[in-house]
């Protein structure tokens, strides 16, 4: 009973977060300026980090959190590269 409750809660959380990813993707596809799209991808990376951590909890594997660590720390660099490039001067 308790186990079913736990997996249900986590699955609902994952579905809600994936809905957030889809909303951000719509803005990323229709956004008028490149800055809009960069904002969308910035929030998408944060949501994806949490989704990975939730999957790790669903599978009950502690070591899977390493992927979330790498992703959460490095996704920031993509955003920084594109943001520096958009200032019309090269990086």
């Amino acid at each position: 009973m308790n186990e079913i409750f736990r997996t249900t809660i986590i699955q609902i959380s994952i579905w809600v977060a994936v809905a957030g990813v889809i909303l951000a993707l719509i803005r990323g596809l229709i956004g008028p300026t490149p800055a809009d799209r960069v904002v969308a991808i910035d929030s998408m990376t944060t949501v994806a980090t949490v989704i990975i951590a939730l999957f790790a909890h669903l599978f009950k594997r502690f070591i899977y959190l390493d992927v979330a660590l790498v992703f959460g720390l490095l996704a920031f660099i993509t955003v920084l590269i594109i943001a520096r490039c958009l200032e019309r001067r090269m990086i």
Partner: protein
């Protein structure tokens, strides 16, 4: 002791639900707000709060994971504000216009980015 455990588990569920709700509301704000600077508010602040809350909920549900979870929260706290600042600055410098309802532009008034023109 058992009561403490029950409280811990339900607090974990609570934080998880709250966090995933904010993870949904942030992208919704990105979709609905009128211009880049408003979208930056929704996209960064709300997502940071949601991520921290959901990760803390996971840490409460599995107490053995709390160390790595805290490191993950620290990374998100460090990186998200820096990247949002960089996006805002680059958007202002590449002359993305403000939306029509905005009333004040302090950077324009005080000539902070004048040399960039």
């Amino acid at each position: 002791m058992i009561i403490l455990n029950v409280i811990r588990v339900y607090a974990g569920y609570f934080f998880l639900i709250i966090g995933s709700l904010f993870l949904f509301l942030g992208p919704l704000g990105i979709l609905r707000f009128p211009d880049v600077y408003n979208r930056l508010q929704a996209g960064t602040k709300s997502t940071t709060l949601g991520a921290i809350s959901a990760l803390f909920g996971i840490g409460l549900l599995e107490p053995g994971w709390l160390g790595k979870i805290v490191i993950l929260i620290l990374f998100i706290l460090l990186t998200n504000p820096v990247s949002s600042h960089a996006i805002g600055r680059s958007a202002y410098r590449s002359k993305v216009p403000l939306c029509g309802k905005s009333v004040v532009d302090k950077c324009e008034e005080e000539h902070i980015y004048k040399e960039a023109k």
